[in-house]
């Protein structure tokens, strides 16, 4: 009597993934459409940025740090500056502390709105993608107006910032904030009330509070699971201690925490609202004063050349805590530099999130932790020695088809 043996399939994704900062390889074990198990491997591409820094002085490294990520082009150099300031005992003027908050919050809003668009795209809802990115465009215009460029801000300086925000600039900032507030209601209705969104995101990619704590998830991903963790509140830096700020968890809006993709949308939308309020508070409370502690850069460089020691810089990037370690050894160049971006923490939580989900949910679940993640994956399926490739397009099509199916 012959017996049927049921087996599962292996389905690798990655490791080359252009949309991610860190290329990553997934290995899925699937049974039909269902994901039974998933394994994630990291470390495929090392850009040697930290090594490149060893041939540069701290001022040059600011711009190198800016290029770690295009979306976080402010928090990386800032975290680096925080570390160097700690080593060299540089006091940042109060006015600059407020300016730093304003830039950080603008970046957070840009990132969250960008992410919201990507999330819509992943479930095949492209009209929403264009709506959200239109809103983001206004924020990029504001960024350009304040710092001189849309993406690479080049605003960080050790001991402060490089450009002031003067009262003549307030009307433009306020106008953009007003536009955001008006558009916020539009976004809220689309993301939180639309049937399509609810069907695709509720109960999908659940990360429980226990898992979030155990796997040390960071940023909105962990807050959506109900973990109260935010560097801005826990370890107040910049001028956050003077501002009214609290942890954003989904229960503020719905009264319950599910830890699913829907909750991650809620948290990010709430944080956009919080950022608007933080910038408004900054504009009100900002005291006048210098923007940087040492305006003469040559002098600052000479000072940094003499310091010896190590320090860390932590701040809340849009995706979670970013951590920089710097060591200087009384030399012109940096001795050591280590960066830990929040995505690192948010990779392990993918495993509990993806288990028992369907293949069509991979894009939205993976994207729900990281705004950069778009499904440029390539899947190679090997079945009976025949190889076929599930490319980005087909994976995307599957996702769209699932949305359609649910509507029937």
């Amino acid at each position: 009597m012959s017996q049927t043996i049921k087996t599962t399939f292996q389905l690798p994704i990655g490791p080359i993934h252009p949309a991610l900062k860190e290329p990553v390889a997934f290995e899925f074990e699937i049974d039909g459409e269902q994901i039974i198990d998933v394994n994630v491997t990291l470390g495929h591409v090392h850009r040697a940025i930290e090594w490149a820094a060893r041939k540069r002085n701290p001022i040059q490294v600011l711009y190198l740090a800016e290029r770690i990520c295009g979306i976080c082009s402010y928090c990386h150099p800032m975290a680096f500056a925080l570390a160097v300031e700690r080593i060299a005992d540089v006091e940042v003027p109060e006015h600059a502390q407020f300016l730093r908050v304003i830039h950080a919050e603008i970046e957070r809003m840009c990132s969250h709105i960008l992410w919201a668009g990507v999330a819509a795209h992943e479930i095949g809802f492209d009209s929403v993608l264009f709506l959200t990115w239109e809103i983001r465009e206004k924020l990029l215009d504001l960024t350009e107006y304040l710092v001189g460029n849309r993406v690479t801000k080049a605003i960080t300086m050790i001991g402060g910032v490089r450009r002031d925000i003067t009262p003549e600039m307030y009307p433009k900032i306020k106008e953009t904030l007003q536009y955001l507030k008006d558009s916020f209601e539009k976004l809220r209705r689309v993301y939180l009330e639309d049937k399509t969104f609810k069907m695709r995101t509720k109960g999908c990619g659940i990360l429980t509070k226990e898992e979030a704590l155990k796997l040390v998830a960071a940023g909105p991903t962990t807050r959506a699971s109900g973990v109260k963790k935010d560097v801005r509140v826990d370890q107040s830096y910049f001028a956050y201690c003077d501002l009214d700020i609290d942890y954003m968890t989904p229960d503020i809006l719905t009264g319950e925490v599910n830890g699913d993709v829907y909750d991650r949308i809620i948290v990010r939308l709430l944080e956009v609202k919080q950022s608007i309020s933080l910038i408004e508070q900054c504009l009100e409370q900002m005291p006048p004063g210098p923007i940087v502690s040492e305006p003469k850069i040559a002098k600052l460089l000479a000072k940094l050349k003499k310091v010896d020691g190590e320090g860390i810089g932590r701040m809340e990037a849009p995706r979670g805590e970013v951590f920089h370690y710097v060591k200087l050894n009384a030399n012109e160049y940096i001795y050591a530099w280590k960066v830990r971006a929040p995505t690192y923490n948010n990779i392990m939580p993918w495993i509990p999130m993806l288990k028992n989900q369907q293949i069509a949910d991979i894009p939205i679940v993976a994207a729900s932790t990281d705004p950069c993640m778009s499904c440029t994956n390539r899947i190679i399926m090997i079945e009976d020695k025949k190889t076929f490739i599930l490319g980005k397009e087909e994976l995307h099509q599957r996702s769209i088809q699932k949305t359609r199916r649910l509507h029937l």
């Binding site: 040059q60 600011l62 001189g148 049937k195 040559a298």
Partner: protein, 133 residues
């Protein structure tokens, strides 16, 4: 609402497009001819979105003012600046430049500044347009 995006989509259909059609409203069939026409003034280009006041574009260099102190070379993160020993002047390769304007900030005689010129695309990274000296 069941499909809260629907009304928005209808509104969007009748709205003016958000995108600025720069430099031409429709793609010209021949780019070279289009450029020629612009040069002899038969067509005008669609204006770009206005550039904010402190935009960081192509670097301007006031060669006569430069004292050859090499400070800009010291802070340039991308090693885009070369020092010309005989003349004691600098040469900036814009193809490497990241437009951070750090060289502008450190220059003791303020001979460097950022212009609002952003049209810098070129097929040759050593073209005249991309070297400032």
């Amino acid at each position: 609402m069941r499909f809260s995006m629907l009304p928005q989509v209808f509104v969007q259909m009748f709205k003016k497009p958000f995108t600025n059609k720069f430099p031409a409203k429709y793609t010209p069939s021949s780019t070279t001819k289009f450029v020629e026409k612009i040069q002899n003034g038969t067509v005008t280009i669609h204006p770009p979105v206005p550039i904010p006041e402190h935009f960081r574009g192509k670097i301007r260099y006031d060669k006569d003012k430069c004292i050859g102190c090499k400070l800009c070379i010291k802070v340039c993160p991308s090693e885009a600046i070369e020092f010309k020993e005989e003349e004691k002047k600098i040469k900036i390769f814009l193809a490497r430049c990241t437009f951070c304007s750090q060289c502008n900030d450190i220059c003791p005689v303020s001979c460097l500044s950022m212009s609002d010129d952003f049209l810098l695309a070129d097929t040759d990274k050593y073209s005249k347009n991309l070297i400032v000296e």
